[in-house]
């Protein structure tokens, strides 16, 4: 399997996420789209790691492969933390405004 397919898939997912961010107004959904982006990245990293595994480099020093997967692990960790904070913020917002619409609030402008 050539790496470009994986790249294509990952980038496609990523861009889908971006498009979601751009087109939706519901902050939760936007947030989910961001999660989607992160997952695309994860996939890409893993794919790359296996690509390196296939290369001579990977044979000589396997740490190259595991590094990426560890990285993915950390990404997940961070994502988890982020989610908790993000949702907390959204909930707070909802408490005050009874809306999760990102455009509902724009007191801050210009």
């Amino acid at each position: 399997m050539e790496i470009k397919w994986y790249i294509g898939l990952a980038v496609a997912l990523f861009c889908t996420g971006i498009i979601g961010v751009l087109t939706r107004r519901n902050s939760i959904v936007i947030f989910m789209c961001i999660e989607l982006m992160l997952n695309a990245v994860n996939l890409l990293l893993v794919a790359f790691s296996k690509m390196h595994a296939a290369s001579a480099l990977g044979q000589s020093m396997p740490s190259v492969v595991s590094d990426a997967q560890i990285f993915v692990f950390f990404i997940m960790v961070v994502a988890a933390a982020e989610v908790s904070v993000g949702l907390a913020i959204i909930v707070m917002l909802y408490r005050n405004t009874h809306s999760v619409d990102v455009n509902f609030l724009n007191r801050l402008k210009n």
Binding site: I18, N103, R107, N110
Partner: protein, 632 residues
């Protein structure tokens, strides 16, 4: 160094001291004190001048170096005074006539408050100082100092009665017109410096060979421009008649005897340059002649006693320039001298008349004064004869010499010159007749305190009268008496270089006699005609018409200048300050500020406050970056 002429600095410094005393102490000094100091200092320098004169006569000329004015590698200008034949003659005229006029003033200005009186004398002394500096300076820079100094003094003295706005305007006009001339003078000096690296007479005249013809022509022309301003020649003559706003003695001293002749002095001083620049000579001659005629014509129709004299001064100055133009430098200086005498006399006489008429200056309201003020009348008459060029009065000799010189150059010049002389005779005697002959036309109470002026006035009159009678005898033409022209002999060294360049083809005696005869006769006729016509002049309020009107309005020259120079400058200034400055430059500068503000107001609208927009813009940014990085 131990040359006796080393102490020439006293001559100008004495009046300066007088100026300082009277000027600073004007609150304390009484009239008589300041009068005394004023005239005294001048008298002292007069004595010294005489002494100097005899020294010079003994063949001892000298350039006294006192200190460096400017001394840098590229340029050296010393504070030097030059005492030679030319300057010594002028010294005598200035201090002598100056002294008389000071004395005259002590009485004439009696009416003034003590401190104004003192101020008057301070100015007068300052003038004498500047004038002396002018003639004594050994280089053009020092001369220029005096040159502008006298301009300043004339400004101050014309505007002496500064409450009266029209007087101030006149003063301003005088100063500015002088400045125009001064610019020419300055440019000439710069030219000299840039070409020769010096402004010293001696060095300039010795190294004149380094100059190209154009240089010389240019320099001499520019100098002449300076002379135009100072000596009231076309086109810069209009200030002189207005300058009559000043007190009469001032008019006598500054605007008749001395300052206005500075131009002549300057050209005589740099005669070599002129002799080497025929073009300029032509210009000088023509301008001089033109001025002489124009002024004379105007003088024909003036009714203000001083105005008439003013215009006659202008025209006489024209004669002097004619002389210079035709290379008769001695003649010019000679005429300066005689003119100084009789014109000063005329003015002082006029002053005495005005004094008697308690301020009245219009000759139409005078007449028949001869039975009230005898001395004035006599002296005035003598002066008129002198200026009209009647032999053996001084004017005759000088004017004759000029005309002769003119004839040598071209008969045409001579012809016009004679015409001018005729007019002179005419208007002078018109003036004389209307003032002294006939019956009195003034008001009753004017008549009732008509009186002869006091000693302090009459004595100078008499002195000057004598001078204007005999003053000419130092310059008797060869044909009358061999070696009669002592002045020429005396001045010869000054003009030696020029004379060397011009070969003298002498007129035959017969022609000379003829010329004299013609001019004198013509003048005499005009004189008699005027005498008869105006001796029983009656006031008629008929409007002048045609040429007469034009003459009465001085050919509308002032109006002309107003419309072609003053108005445009004013409007240009207005345009600059209102349009170019406000709208243009400052507008542009403020425009930048406005632009910043405007763009700020616009740009901040990008900040819509909506996350969607922000991220969209970010994504666009990302696209741009990718394209720049990957595909460019």
């Amino acid at each position: 160094m131990n040359n006796v002429l080393q102490m020439a600095w006293l001559i100008p410094v004495l009046p300066l001291i007088g100026f300082l005393i009277t000027g600073l102490g004007r609150k304390q000094l009484s009239r008589s004190m300041s009068g005394f100091i004023g005239s005294g200092t001048v008298f002292l320098s007069f004595l010294i001048s005489i002494y100097v004169f005899y020294n010079v006569k003994g063949g001892n000329t000298h350039v006294a170096h006192y200190f460096d004015f400017i001394n840098i590698p590229a340029l050296k200008i010393g504070f030097d005074l030059q005492i030679d034949q030319l300057s010594s003659v002028f010294l005598l005229i200035i201090t002598g006539v100056g002294f008389l006029i000071h004395v005259y003033s002590t009485s004439y200005m009696k009416a003034e408050a003590p401190k104004d009186f003192a101020k008057y004398f301070a100015f007068l002394n300052l003038f004498v100082f500047s004038m002396l500096l002018l003639v004594l300076g050994a280089n053009y820079v020092i001369m220029f100092m005096g040159w502008e100094g006298v301009g300043l003094c004339s400004y101050l003295l014309i505007g002496y009665w500064f409450k009266n706005t029209s007087y101030n305007v006149a003063a301003k006009k005088a100063f500015i017109m002088n400045r125009i001339g001064d610019l020419g003078f300055l440019l000439a000096v710069f030219w000299l410096i840039s070409k020769l690296g010096t402004a010293d007479y001696h060095e300039v005249f010795t190294s004149v060979s380094k100059l190209t013809a154009t240089d010389i022509t240019g320099i001499s022309l520019l100098l002449f421009v300076g002379a135009m301003g100072k000596s009231a020649q076309i086109p810069l003559y209009t200030w002189l008649p207005d300058a009559m706003a000043g007190p009469t003695p001032v008019s006598a001293l500054i605007h008749a005897a001395t300052m206005v002749t500075a131009g002549i002095y300057m050209i005589a001083r740099s005669n070599l340059l002129y002799t080497m620049a025929p073009v300029t000579q032509g210009v000088v001659a023509i301008v001089g002649l033109a001025t002489a005629i124009l002024a004379a014509t105007i003088a024909l129709k003036q009714n203000d006693i001083k105005k008439v004299l003013a215009y006659s001064t202008v025209s006489q100055l024209g004669y002097m320039f004619l002389a210079l133009g035709v290379g008769a430098y001695t003649g010019a200086v000679f005429h300066v001298m005689t003119h100084a005498f009789f014109k000063a006399l005329l003015f002082l006489g006029a002053g005495s008349v005005i004094h008697a008429m308690s301020g009245e200056q219009d000759i139409r309201n005078m007449g028949g004064l001869k039975k009230y003020m005898n001395i004035t009348h006599i002296t005035f008459l003598l002066a008129c004869l002198a200026i009209a060029g009647m032999p053996p009065f001084s004017g005759f000799f000088s004017k004759d010499e000029i005309l002769a010189g003119a004839f040598e150059r071209s008969p045409l010049l001579w012809g016009v010159g004679v015409a001018g002389a005729v007019m002179t005779a005419f208007y002078m005697f018109r003036l004389y007749a209307m003032t002294f002959l006939g019956k009195f036309r003034g008001t009753a109470e004017q008549e009732h305190h008509l009186h002869e002026s006091p000693k302090a006035i009459t004595v100078p009159l008499i002195m000057l009268a004598i001078l204007s009678v005999i003053g000419g005898w130092i310059g008797i033409p060869e044909i009358f008496m061999h070696g009669g022209h002592r002045l020429e002999a005396f001045l010869a060294p000054v003009f030696a270089q020029s004379n060397a360049l011009t070969e003298k083809h002498h007129l035959s005696h017969t022609t000379e006699y003829m010329l004299m005869g013609i001019s004198v006769l013509a003048a005499l006729v005009a004189l008699l005609y005027a005498w008869s016509k105006f001796s029983k002049y009656q006031r008629t309020d008929t409007e002048d018409t045609g040429l007469a009107k034009v003459l009465a309005n001085k050919w509308y020259v002032d109006e002309l200048y107003d419309s072609i120079i003053v108005m445009p400058v004013q409007s240009l200034a207005r345009f600059f300050s209102n349009v170019v400055e406000k709208k243009g430059i400052d507008g542009f500068v403020n425009g930048i500020g406005k632009a910043v503000n405007y763009s700020s107001r616009q740009i901040r609208l990008i900040q819509t406050g909506q996350v969607g927009t922000y991220i969209l813009l970010m994504v666009l940014g990302i696209l741009v970056f990718f394209i720049v990085q990957l595909f460019l």
